[in-house]
């Protein structure tokens, strides 16, 4: 059921990727995966199925115990600094991602790390805050923002480094409906810009209509990897709630 991808233009390639934790437990096991440029791929699965562990290999936060991950053809472990500029991640809990004392300072964190000039930092931060609609709150302290605004700030923080791949780890957890809408607006915008998007989520419904592919993990292995419409059968046996038919263009 794998969609056909040309290995030469693959943005992300996993080749028999395995990760074993210090206590000996297996996080992911012999995962083969290829993601093309501009694709939106959803990663679903029950808690502990290996979604977050897999995503953390794409920006080098975790390195494989066996196998290999390549980003744009380059092995991840070869240049972690480059990989983290190329592949950005919005974490499940945006509170833990926000490090600045103000909204502006947080958005500037990435470009400061990359050693950009003062003028370039100002320009990147201004553009990113404009893009997520937080310019008016630039001087506000981040902990005073709402849940949706914090995720928008997390998105602004990664936009400043202009990544080609953006990963969202459980982007809808703990958000109310307006918060989910705000996150979806950012995902739509990033997709329209042609970035490759990887979304790990339990909540398929909001993002499924935009997705090119649904990958389902179970006990560290990929058990489904196909277009969403072909992957939805019997999802609940894999610990994933089946979204309502209207979300994926079926009437029942």
């Amino acid at each position: 059921m794998k969609p056909e991808t040309n290995p030469t233009d693959a943005m992300i390639t996993c080749d028999r990727l395995t990760h074993r934790f210090h206590d000996g437990s297996v996080g992911i096991c012999e995962v083969d995966l290829s993601v093309s440029e501009g694709e939106l791929v959803i990663f679903a699965g029950a808690n502990g199925s290996g979604k977050s562990t897999l995503l953390r290999h794409f920006n080098g936060l975790l390195l494989p115990t066996a196998g290999e991950v390549r980003i744009a053809g380059k092995p991840v472990r070869e240049d972690l600094r480059w990989v983290r500029q190329f592949v950005a991640m919005v974490f499940q809990d945006p509170e833990s991602q926000i490090v600045g004392e103000t909204v502006w300072a947080d958005a500037a964190f990435g470009p400061e790390n990359l050693g950009f000039s003062g003028e370039k930092i100002r320009q990147r931060v201004q553009e990113a805050l404009d893009a997520v609609g937080l310019t008016a709150k630039a001087d506000q302290r981040p902990h005073t923002l709402s849940g949706g605004e914090k995720r928008r700030l997390a998105v602004a923080g990664i936009l400043t480094t202009n990544p080609s791949v953006v990963m969202f780890d459980e982007p809808f957890s703990g958000l109310d409906y307006p918060g989910v809408c705000q996150v979806m607006e950012q995902i739509r915008r990033l997709r329209a810009q042609g970035r490759t998007l990887l979304v790990s989520t339990h909540e398929l419904a909001p993002v499924l209509p935009l997705a090119d592919r649904l990958v389902v993990l179970d006990a560290g292995r990929i058990v489904r990897n196909a277009a969403p419409v072909d992957s939805l059968q019997d999802l609940e046996s894999l610990g994933v709630r089946t979204p309502c038919p209207a979300c994926f263009g079926r009437d029942g």
């Binding site: 936060l61 991640m89 490090v99 004392e101 902990h143």
Partner: protein, 253 residues
Amino acid sequence: MSAHTGFSFHGGDTLLHRLDVRIKLLALAAVGMVSLHAGPVGIALLLLSLWALSRRFSLSLKSVDRELRFFLLLLGVVLLSRALFTPGRILWSAGPLAFTIEGIRDGLLVCSRLTAVVWCGWLFVASTAPGALRTAVHGLFRPIPGIPHQRLSTMIMLTIRLLPLVLDEARATADAQRARGVENRKNPLYRMVRLAVPMLRRSFRRADQLAEAMEARGYTENRRVAIPALTPADAAAAFAVAVFCLTVMLLGS
């Protein structure tokens, strides 16, 4: 959510707001040290100057009343103990307790010095944006070899960022425990341990998550931090503080 307190940054355009934070930090250290050795005239001059500077802030005493409650209690204890235990001419006595004139004078002087130090600190915090403090520390320590100025400024940045979160978590944990009847336990040690253990666990977990997020955002110690240049007004202010400190010291202890 953590509310803003009297002891936090208050935006404005006063002389103190405009001063370079490095100058303010050095002035805070100098005035703090001088005030601890100042005599009655010197400390009166210092308190008068602090009052004049504070008038530019639209902040009433009431707004810092909550935070100052324990400080006022401390001042009361200091004054009482000095008045009771300093030998000298007895002003009033009741049984074994005797208040001496020298004790009261000494107690008032110590309390004034402590007040001056806290007042200086409040003026610094109220007129300094948190981000500017990080930049100032970076700029102050950069020329000194052997001091990891980048790490130091990052630590300050994270402390400022995380303090409200830790306070929020402490409040949430305390609320959850109250809801489960912890107040029925009379042993304060038991209650403290029950609050501290989950608080520490959550704080360490948050620290791990933060470190991971910083790594993902390409954190490096060789970050670009723009240090603003000192202006003639900053130099003049530094000179004025130096003259003021010398004057207070010359007025005697």
